[in-house]
């Protein structure tokens, strides 16, 4: 049986700028121009105040590790990586998003909550997928 592919996102018109940003190596999210609150996931209305006056901007790419699991029952395409971490990170701008943490073992010892992370990108099907890597201690 051929190896199964990992799930790949299918962008919609409302989310296309996010995926275009990822393809350009930028983490683009939205904020409300009326109340100023940044938000994720992409949608055409501010979840804080209901305004449709929203804009895209490029987030800093800085985040911290909010929570995670280390999954031992792999999803299709992830068989060679199990056990692997499925993480939720908190962006420096406030919103949270699910992601993968690369460049670090998937162990409780290596994955410490609140550790600083920075966005990176990897190919997935036709899109570029935001992932995060630990920020190295400055020397």
């Amino acid at each position: 049986m051929p190896p199964r592919a990992k799930a790949a996102p299918a962008p919609t018109p409302e989310t296309q700028p996010y995926w275009d940003g990822a393809a350009a190596g930028e983490l683009r999210i939205q904020r409300c121009t009326d109340c100023g609150v940044p938000y994720f996931y992409p949608r055409p209305v501010c979840p804080s105040c209901g305004s449709a006056n929203v804009e895209w901007f490029t987030a800093s790419g800085d985040a911290t590790l909010y929570s995670y699991v280390i999954n031992h029952r792999p999803a299709p395409g992830f068989e060679d990586e199990a056990p692997y971490a499925i993480a939720v990170v908190q962006l420096a701008e406030g919103p949270r998003m699910m992601t993968s943490v690369r460049g670090v073992p998937a162990t409780p010892e290596a994955l410490v909550l609140d550790m600083p992370l920075r966005v990176a990108f990897e190919r997935r099907g036709d899109v570029s997928l935001p992932v995060f890597t630990p920020v190295k201690e400055s020397s």
Partner: protein, 382 residues
């Protein structure tokens, strides 16, 4: 708001729960429906309202039973849907839209006979923003908040494991429970890791089964073979379609809001609750439920359970059928939580607690996505 009384007049599960490879999902609905209608001493001709989830959905279930209802509710928000159906049925009965509502659940969750396929839509928000990171069902998503809770409140792996230990003590008293052997914290922590920090014994079963309810107005309370179970209060709330967007990983807003609505309608406080069911797809869910409804303060639920307060002989009997962890969990467990609360109020539970007057059921749908909370009573509201 009219608050005329509503009762559960009939309640039953399928003849068996567990491994039922010779019955389809629709067949389980039908068996549960027939059992519940018979429990109420009625026939299908007496039913004028129907509620269930898709698939198979209320139209299919009604038609299979020969019912042509004048009120239909297909609310499908996961395992708590049936609690919402009770709430919606209560409103419909008060409004005069229906007199006798049948709520059914059937699910071939383990054998998957005539069960809908699992589908993920890659264009949905979850398909775009969660699935690409390797999620695969509830074990990989419902579980994600826990490490944050553990860091914030110091809950230990042993305390999380003890939730399964406490519930197994109830299951040991229930001949219908799939798992009945007493277990220890060491057993739980030695079971296979599924999604750290969750071991196999901290995850629910996957079974086949069904259950159904007959809901009607309290002015008919004397018309049925079984003593009525009064619906004293109901609440519902939704929070998030994706676990990554749960507002605070250390508390469940939906549990809190649905609970407040149900308690306010019933006019009760936690001190009035004699028996409690909290949907336990995983061992952490009762912890979030106990805290959200105010039975304990934030951060105290783990020690509260580990201190023996919810097990046999404790002050707050919790998940007395053994729960989704040990009794049964078809995928949408809420119906079974209600069935146990009703058995306890009627005094016919396998692990019967001492004459409970008020039982509360806390339902979960999706991954902390939607909640229904019900307050059942032996007597009408005073």
């Amino acid at each position: 708001m009219s608050n005329a009384g509503v009762i559960i007049a009939g309640a039953a599960e399928t003849d068996e729960v567990g491994r039922l490879p010779s019955t389809s999902t629709l067949g389980l609905h039908i068996e549960a429906a027939r059992n519940a209608v018979a429990d109420a001493g009625l026939t299908m001709k007496d039913i004028d309202g129907i509620a269930t989830v898709s698939a198979p959905g209320p139209v299919q279930v009604a038609h299979a039973l020969g019912i042509y209802p004048g009120w239909v509710d297909g609310t499908g928000v996961g395992g708590t849907s049936f609690l919402l159906h009770v709430r919606h049925a209560a409103a419909a009965i008060r409004a005069g839209y229906a007199k006798t509502v049948l709520i059914t659940h059937g699910e071939s969750g383990r054998s998957r006979v005539g069960a809908p396929p699992f589908r993920g839509d890659p264009a949905s928000p979850a398909g775009q923003f969660e699935a690409p990171y390797g999620t695969l069902g509830p074990t990989t998503t419902f579980t994600i908040p826990m490490l944050r809770y553990m860091k914030e409140y110091g809950l230990t792996h042993e305390q999380l494991a003890y939730v399964a230990v406490a519930q197994r003590q109830w299951a040991a008293k229930n001949p219908r429970a799939m798992f009945r052997d007493i277990i220890t914290v060491e057993d739980v922590l030695a079971s296979r890791m599924v999604a750290y920090p969750f071991h196999l014994l901290e995850c629910c079963l996957v079974t086949d089964g069904g259950g159904a309810l007959v809901v009607t107005s309290a002015d008919r309370a004397g018309d049925f073979p079984k003593p009525p179970v009064h619906v004293l209060g109901t609440g519902e709330a939704s929070e998030t379609p994706m676990i990554s967007q749960m507002l605070d990983f250390t508390e469940s807003q939906m549990f809190r809001q649905a609970g407040q609505r149900a308690f306010a309608e019933a006019g009760i406080t936690t001190a009035d609750v004699d028996h409690l069911m909290i949907y336990d797809a995983f061992a952490h869910v009762p912890i979030y439920g106990l805290e959200a409804l105010g039975f304990v303060k934030k951060g105290e639920a783990g020690p509260f359970i580990a201190g023996g307060n919810t097990e046999p002989g404790g002050s707050l009997p919790l998940n007395t059928n053994g729960g989704g962890l040990s009794y049964t969990h078809t995928g949408m467990y809420g119906m079974f939580a209600m069935q146990e609360a009703i058995r306890q109020i009627r005094g016919e539970a396998a692990a019967q607690v001492d004459n409970p007057q008020v039982s509360v059921v806390v339902g979960n749908g999706g991954m902390f996505a939607t909640s229904g909370v019900l307050v059942f009573g032996k007597n009408p509201r005073s």
